[in-house]
Symmetry: C2
Subunit: 236 residues, 2 copies
DNA sequence: CCGCCGGCATGATGCGCGTCATATGGCGGG
DNA sequence: CCCGCCATATGACGCGCATCATGCCGGCGG
């Protein structure tokens, strides 16, 4: 990880929706206090238990938040460009309850807690944005919680990819394409199962042409077939 | 359910921490717009899919929020006096993603969405309180999500009661006492299992004296024994 | 070029727990 | 007083999936 200089910081701030419309005065101060960070695949931004001193905003790349359990890890959420990570811990002045790991080369912006509180306090738009993000996160978690329970593993994996398709899928002639690398291990942690079970489902679907694993992406030839395959109630 | 009159409303507002310190002007308006509601055990405040028009605050009693899945229901959270219910849906102007059911005779305060937004906008303290609640809810959900996964049913039930003991347990000579009625059905929905499994664990523990079910309360004679019984990592 | 390792794949086995079935005790209504 | 309803309880059975084990392939360093 390496710290970058002020020029790129200014540019990053102009890209991020949450800072773009900030009054000039506030934005000045943010420029002075925020720092940029470059991280590579596998880098750990923080580990569960670390004290949470600054808010992290993703400028580009992807970060997964992983909660450790004695039975294995669970990926709580995958965050992408424009989203904030670790807001809950920072806000409550408590140690991070989960670890954050970079999934691909990424650029992160870090804002000290005091500065962040200042923004929330003085800019109602900013505060609104934070609440929106928090409520969205909430909904994602509740959905996951409900899905996690009784349903079978293949249904959960189907649900995962259907939701990914909705969030970042591009329709091509081969079907819906999801441009994202995701190891079997990560798939397993996302739906709360073991690597072996994830592999079994994925390779079966690969054979049957329901969900094809390709280089750097997944392809869903027939969305309805994937839905039917595990008769999932369409929830996104 | 029956609507009560202005006198009790004023009294309710003075009890609730979130309204107590409101400037007089704002408080006047809230008094004009909020309504009180009395509900009995089993009453459904709303059903999943209903449109969310006002924020609900619990004056007294307990409310559970239940998410329906094809495999059975899951209790997302149990809310008690002073807490708000349904904030996420109301804030995002979307239909409730889950149902809210009253667990014991309760008094609810309902605040129209527009009025609530007004409070958030004009009173920074109020807004801060909402974010605190949201982040806390978030943490509870992430913990639940991590616990839900690989662990066995008895471990999850043990975790549930250990966390209840921490939140509302009183130490007596018989052990830690949790003053709360909770049917086996509700225990099952809280940890994401079936009634039968919950019953099996509970009656076994009853026999062994690990966790005793009594009238209107549960008793944990030996906290460490309950922890050991399902070798749970102490997480609260 | 070979050995090592990390990701992927597949088979065998056992057990937790969901499912179905049946029994008992308390409680309210006709 | 009896009957139906609900919560609690207990047993039998089977399936999904975690666990363990083994093999294959591509990349990388010595």
């Amino acid at each position: 990880m390496s710290t970058l200089h002020a020029e790129r910081l200014r540019h990053a701030l102009s890209t991020l929706a949450m800072f773009k419309d900030l009054p000039a005065a506030l934005r000045q101060r943010v420029e002075g206090m925020a720092t940029l960070l470059e991280a590579g695949k596998g880098d750990e931004l923080w580990h569960a238990g670390d004290s949470a001193e600054h808010l992290t905003v993703i400028v580009s790349g992807r970060v997964k938040v992983v909660r450790h359990a004695d039975t294995g890890d669970v990926i709580l959420e995958i965050f992408t460009a424009g989203e904030t990570v670790g807001a809950v811990a920072v806000y409550n002045r408590m140690p991070y309850p989960a670890s954050a790991i970079v999934m691909e080369p990424s650029v992160l912006l870090r804002l000290p807690r005091a500065e962040w509180f200042d923004l929330i306090e003085h800019d109602p738009g900013f505060s609104r944005g934070m609440m929106l993000e928090l409520t969205r996160l909430n909904m994602a978690l509740t959905r996951k919680l409900a899905a996690m329970h009784g349903t079978r593993v293949d249904a959960r994996i189907a649900g995962l990819f259907l939701s990914l398709a909705e969030r970042m899928g591009r329709t091509t002639e081969a079907g819906i394409e999801i441009p994202m690398t995701l190891s079997r291990q990560e798939i397993a942690e996302l739906v709360g199962t073991t690597v072996e079970s994830a592999i079994r489902v994925m390779s079966r679907w690969n054979r049957e042409g329901v969900l094809v694993t390709a280089r750097e992406r997944f392809v869903i030839p027939d969305r309805d077939r994937l839905k039917a395959e595990a008769n999932v109630t369409d929830e996104g």
